[in-house]
Symmetry: C2
Subunit: 885 residues, 2 copies
């Protein structure tokens, strides 16, 4: 209003001075009025502004609340819907779920039958000589051992090495199939060898040996020196007349050369199965008898120290052989003579390849040879041979003479080659029978050649590329470790081979029995569910369902029937039945709509989609499931309570397992947040990081989210990680990525642990990662003890060990999800991982673990997983998969 007025007074030049004064006064008056008016206006404006902002704030609050309520409602709706589906499924279900098999056992001793002749025995196969009725599919394969001290079957003058007797009993004691009651047994084990002359046994004992030397040894003649007294065998209490279901164990250890390694040759063993190293061609009954290598290793325990490193692929010598034909008078047939000649030429030939091919022992090896069977003996000592094999890319194996299908010496040679990573080249393999040939795939670990290929041998060895060479060597080492290395390995493998042949599932793997830190009467105090969590985005991530443990033991009778090859040669664990495997097959995508609906929750009921539809259902290729959170904690109670509280309302969470690593139990007045799912607080056997991976019986899901007690992950991140894990059930799937870097400065080659930002990763830390429960079993039972010991020594590296294990089994890198790089909660005390010692230890761990595994199993990956529509520009009416990730 005042502006136009003032404008009118502005043209001073055109006015008289008198007017001017008056006008100026008027102007001054106007000015003051205007000032007052302005001040009033200003104050009203401020008032209004503050009102508006208050209203806005209120509206915003209301909106938020509405959104929360709507989300909650949405969630409830989904949950109700899911519960209805689950209920329908429960009603419809016809096929009963399989559970852990119950044993159905025979309850009688074998009845007496008539003895059979040697001729009949020679044509024994499982269907005509074995009594299946003692071994039902659900029996669990009970095995009885005749105590070798009570039931000796040796002739006078012979006895079994005390070591063998003791360790056999001991190691069988660890085998889950052993039963004490012969009435229940499916098979009966008899230790028939190796039986040594008592004078030879004495040689072990230095003083006794000196004494024995003075006596004239009464060498038995060839006729009467069978160490086994067949009559004693026939009168074993459960022999039943014909030795049905009896297994004669003749395990070689000290005597690899004499004809006593095959004492049962030309004896009538009736229906008994013979398990030994040496077999004559007409003696061996395929699919019935079992060839096992001699037991040259320790009773059990870690064996990795025995082995050589796998890398470099190519060693000093391309091919080596050291051996001598004994007894001296043995003569070669023309083909074998040609082979030796050709090999000698090859070694001398003009080539860059180096060979050691010695067919005479230098220095000469002292050896009794009076009663040896014609064969290639080993030269030198165990350690001299080990030295050469360690430097050999390939190790030549020549078959025994006279057409035998297997000899103890040959198997000892294979054993030593595999142990040192020299790939066996078995010449004449087509004339031989290899150990455990029904189950172990020898083509993956040795080159098997007919003798006729001798002239092509060098060519063939040169044609093997590094990657294949390392594959052969790795497989050889695995076979050696699991099936040949120790008495335990041999005994377990013999039993598993027979069990496999009968199609009976193995015994279930034992879980670790969880013990609560609370005593049975104590009820821990609860706090109210936490409210207004900042961590929870306002989106519906999935239904809140009743607990749904993963179905277990559904493949009891199929897995080792259909996937025996994998179990024996890829997973290398035919010894146990696992509740589930990360390799279990998926159904074709239409099956979930046609006949196999149960458990499937397709996105949008099959129509697919994003946003709401995606959040509502798990989709994917596997049926619905939940996951367990395992949290290791040590004396940080408030941090733990906060972490637990943040899990409130997390969909698909089945249970939280808190491993209480402190010896002090939680305080009685500690208030545990009520988060809607059970929280099992378990007493740890002792303060060890290995406890993080104990396969507790209370973990009832396949998916295990391993998190540190101070981990700070949002619900959407956890659920996306869970979905990705469901596609990669065999891998570590999680958030913090790390890698192993090669230390260029170190001439010997060393790995460094590295936690920098990097575009290539090889580990995902288990402070925030999903792993399959199967790997908890493997970590606890299969990993060499040395690794768990190192974890305890450093109180560090358990996460590295888990990454090694999983990459070792799968030969795949882990999967990193989302952009999250750290997971520590902002306010938490600085953790261990920051200081330098911690890093130094982790460098050492990588290098030590690599030595134990014989190579570094970690593999590289250059990408991470994000949700499909992350950072994608989409039309406004479309929804993303998650709001923030």
């Amino acid at each position: 209003r005042s502006s136009p007025l003032l404008d009118a007074y502005e043209d001073f030049s055109a006015m008289r001075a008198g007017d001017l004064k008056m006008r100026i006064e008027e102007m001054v008056r106007i000015k003051s009025t205007v000032s007052v008016e302005l001040r009033e206006l200003e104050s009203r404006r401020q008032k209004l502004q503050s009102d508006i902002s208050q209203y806005n704030q209120k509206i915003e609050e209301l909106k938020q609340e509405l959104l929360r309520e709507q989300t909650e409602l949405e969630r409830l709706k989904i949950s109700v819907e899911q519960a209805q589906v689950a209920q329908r499924e429960a009603v419809q279900r016809n096929t009963p779920d399989l559970a852990l098999p119950r044993s159905l056992l025979p309850n009688t001793l074998p009845r007496k039958s008539n003895p059979i002749t040697g001729g009949m025995a020679a044509s024994c196969e499982m269907h005509n000589c074995f009594n299946h009725s003692r071994c039902s599919l659900t029996s669990g394969f009970p095995v009885y051992l005749y105590d070798p001290d009570e039931h000796s079957v040796q002739r006078k003058g012979y006895d079994i090495d005390g070591f063998l007797k003791t360790t056999l009993k001991q190691t069988l004691g660890y085998n889950a199939h052993i039963v004490k009651d012969p009435k229940h047994a499916c098979i009966y084990l008899v230790l028939v060898g190796e039986a040594l002359l008592e004078q030879d046994l004495l040689r072990n004992n230095r003083y006794a040996a000196q004494e024995a030397e003075h006596q004239q040894p009464s060498t038995p003649t060839l006729e009467n020196d069978c160490p086994v007294d067949m009559e004693k065998l026939y009168s074993l209490p459960y022999w039943g007349g014909d030795g049905r279901n009896h297994v004669l164990l003749n395990l070689a250890r000290r005597d690899l050369t004499s004809h006593r390694t095959n004492p049962l040759y030309r004896q009538n063993t009736m229906r008994a199965i013979v398990v030994q190293s040496a077999f004559e061609r007409e003696q061996f009954r395929p699919g019935y008898d079992l060839i096992v290598p001699p037991i040259l290793g320790p009773p059990g325990g870690d064996v990795w120290q025995e082995c050589a490193e796998m890398v470099p692929a190519r060693r000093k010598y391309l091919l080596t052989y050291q051996g001598e034909l004994r007894p001296k008078q043995s003569s070669l047939n023309p083909l074998d003579a040609f082979i030796l000649e050709h090999l000698a030429d090859m070694a001398k030939g003009a080539t860059q390849d180096q060979f050691v091919l010695q067919f005479q022992c230098v220095p000469a090896t002292e050896q009794q040879e009076g009663d040896s069977l014609p064969d290639w003996t080993l030269c030198g000592s165990d350690s001299s041979r080990r030295q050469l094999l360690k430097d050999s890319t390939f190790s030549l194996i020549l078959p025994p003479l006279n057409g035998r299908v297997s000899s103890t010496l040959m198997l000892a040679r294979i054993y030593e080659a595999l142990r040192s990573g020299a790939v066996p080249v078995i010449l004449g393999a087509d004339e031989l029978r290899l150990p455990y040939a029904e189950t172990v795939d020898w083509r993956r670990t040795a080159l098997l050649l007919p003798k006729a290929r001798i002239t092509e041998l060098h060519f063939l060895l040169r044609a093997v590329q590094d990657a294949d060479l390392l594959l052969l060597r790795r497989q050889g080492r695995l076979i050696w470790e699991r099936y040949l290395s120790s008495v335990q390995a041999t005994v377990d493998t013999v039993i598993a081979s027979l069990r496999d042949r009968l199609g009976i599932p193995p015994r279930p793997v034992p879980s670790v029995i969880a013990q609560s830190v609370f005593n049975s009467t104590f009820i821990p105090l609860k706090s109210d569910p936490p409210v207004g969590l900042d961590t929870e985005p306002e989106e519906s991530l999935g239904p809140i369902e009743p607990p749904y443990p993963s179905p277990a033991f559904r493949r009891n009778y199929t897995i080792l029937r259909m996937q025996a090859k994998e179990a024996w040669n890829d997973w290398l664990d035919p010894f146990y039945l696992y509740p589930q495997l990360p390799f279990d097959p998926a159904l074709p995508s239409e099956a979930k709509f046609m006949g196999s609906h149960t458990g499937f929750r397709p996105i949008g009921k099959g129509l697919g989609g994003a946003g709401k539809e995606f959040g509502e259902s798990l989709g994917g290729n596997y049926p619905r499931e939940q996951f367990t959170i395992v949290m290791l904690t040590y004396e940080r109670e408030q941090v733990l309570m906060d972490s637990l509280g943040r899990l409130y309302g997390l969909p698909y969470l089945h249970k939280v397992v808190v491993v209480w690593n402190s010896p002090k139990p939680p305080l009685d007045d500690l208030r545990w947040p009520d988060i809607g799912v059970p929280v099992a607080v378990l007493r740890a056997p002792r303060n060890s990081l290995n406890n993080r991976f104990l396969p507790f019986d209370v973990i009832e899901t396949e998916a295990v989210l391993s998190v540190d007690d101070d981990a700070h992950l949002r619900h959407d991140e956890i659920l996306f990680g869970f979905r990705v894990w469901r596609e990669h059930r065999d891998r570590v799937v999680g958030f913090p990525g790390r890698y192993h870097a090669w230390d260029l400065g170190n001439p010997n080659g060393q790995w460094h642990y590295n936690s920098n930002y990097s575009c290539e990763l090889s580990m995902v830390l288990t402070g925030a990662a999903f792993v399959h429960k199967y790997y908890l079993y493997l970590y606890t039972y299969h990993l060499p003890q040395a690794i768990r010991d190192k974890v305890d020594e450093y109180m560090n590296c358990e996460d590295i060990a888990m990454n090694f294990l999983v990459s070792h089994i799968t030969r795949k890198p882990p999967v990193k999800v989302t952009s999250r790089w750290t997971f520590r909660c902002p306010g938490c005390p600085v953790s261990l991982s920051e200081d330098d010692t911690h890093f130094q230890e982790r460098h050492k761990c990588i290098n030590f673990f690599s030595r134990v595994f014989g190579y570094t199993p970690l593999l590289n990956t250059q990408y991470r997983a994000d949700s499909i529509l992350f950072k994608t520009r989409i039309p406004h009416d479309k929804q993303k998969c998650f709001k923030y990730i």
Copy 2:
């Protein structure tokens, strides 16, 4: 300057009017001066501003250029470095690369040896009866066929079915091993059967049959009715006295029951290998003779129409059997009688499971049985049996009587069961020998049970879960399709089995010979390399290297030695040698620093890293490599030229292959951009989308980036895709994600193709995706013809077919990379994919392809791959992996 002066004049109220006037005048004067001054200032300011902005622009331009130059320099440096490494490697390399094997062939006919006795023949194994010297590892396994029309080995009154003779010759003609010159051959095939009585042969011909009926058939007596004339056999021109390396093919087809199915029983076949269906126990020589099922299918070609759908897992009947014991007078032993009794009880038992177990044919089947061997005959007709098997979850197989190890009827039963997806349950499998048992893993496709397990049968069948059932059924179908379904399949499998036994690699897979659209003298015009590409971000994505084709045929002599099980049972292709496989193994991560450096380009030389270090090297688990871009084009020359131009400077690009689908060759005056790598423009056989996947010989890398001619991908996107593909060499890795949705409205169950934004995908379109060259071979040679025909019919769906194929082989979903969802260039004409017909066709394709495969192989995935530091907040001094992705 003027402001303080003006201020002094402002206090009007304190002045007199006279002064005021003067002062006002002065003010007016000042005002005008100031105005002028202001105007001047303003104009100067504007001048300066424009100058500054010009300078800024120039500086910016210079900066840009500098950056470009630096990047270029960086790139050159890397390239030089890489070239140096490659050169060093070339110098250091000691092991020669393997190439496609050259054949080393014998050049003589078999020499004459002395015949051997039947007794010696009975103990034939490869090492004592086979002459390896005709079959060197590099021979390529040459096979000679005695023309059955010229070299009949039948007795008078017998002849071989004309169909068999003709199709055998025909199908062998397609086999790469066949040679015409007997001097080169490793093995000699003799068609000995099935030989039928000439009067039976006539029955085929209706008129001749009527005539024959009137004659009294002169049924030969059992003694003289061996259809094979051994003397004729012995006098075959290359028999060499003892039949070394001869293979006697006795293929059953029309006569499944008579004892003439095994005409060589008790004949002295000397050193010849016998290939047939029926074997007596003492007749079969394991590892020497070969069991093949009867040839019941067509000569060759597509067989999928014969099969039943795989889903649903559970069919109407749990277990079925229809058969009758012939001849009638045959009697069962007590165990077999008990089995029949038990089965009858089972069918009647109180259970929800349905059985059809008939041990009498109803209606009775007319059958000659005078000369039948005791066995279980088939009831009804092929189509009635097919009807029942289609409704059977499991099909019972009973072994032949009298302890035979294999019978033609039993194999026919297995053949029919596998064809219809009824999982065979082979009772007494431990007494039998199964076809191709050396190579085919029957445990994965049938339940093998000893007879003693009969009482546990029902329990076991119920214990098989849906997923395992479908696995068994799928494997059975694959085995059937690849090895049993047709004459071609049988012939190829017999030859591959013998080849495998000898350890000789298969013949290399044939490539498609590329033919340029330009005639040999024409040199296409070139345009300058395009400048200032907007698509190229200013970052160094990798070195520009000289061309480096992927090493080929490096595993010639190892792959089928070590991975025979996979080749026969997983890849189902033991017939060809491929230059590389997507399943080739990776080395352990330390090998590239210890002894196996060649080709590896670790990030930061092993230290890892991001940004520059990452850009410089490929890293990962595989050695360096390059990729080929294959572009299908049809009459859009400018679009194509633009697309080609954008590839200038793309690191790791080996070659561009343009498949010119138009019948009109390119215009002579068309200018092709010079992009630094060869551009091969290939004439297409005809306008077909299948040409996109022809395995041209000019594609020399494992990685193939298939792109549409209008695809618009940035270099960083391509290179990230390439890196991810290097981790998933067996999968389709690319940009545009699609999925198959279940049509809920359709009661019969139908798939819909869906290209909406979705959080779950199952296809990645090959308009912009990496695939392994291996899949080009499979697409072109292995995919049923019906699928390629459908692609031609619709001019659509080739990308869906490729996704089906890859998921079928791997049982894995594809991998989607980065947030890019479409790839069309902005200005390009709207493509086909927009209109509705296109979508309708794609729906139909998915459903049709599913019928051909027998199931829908597509699987779901819920994540995509981004670079590891994408959208990650990192410190300012750190670099990301890529600038924009």
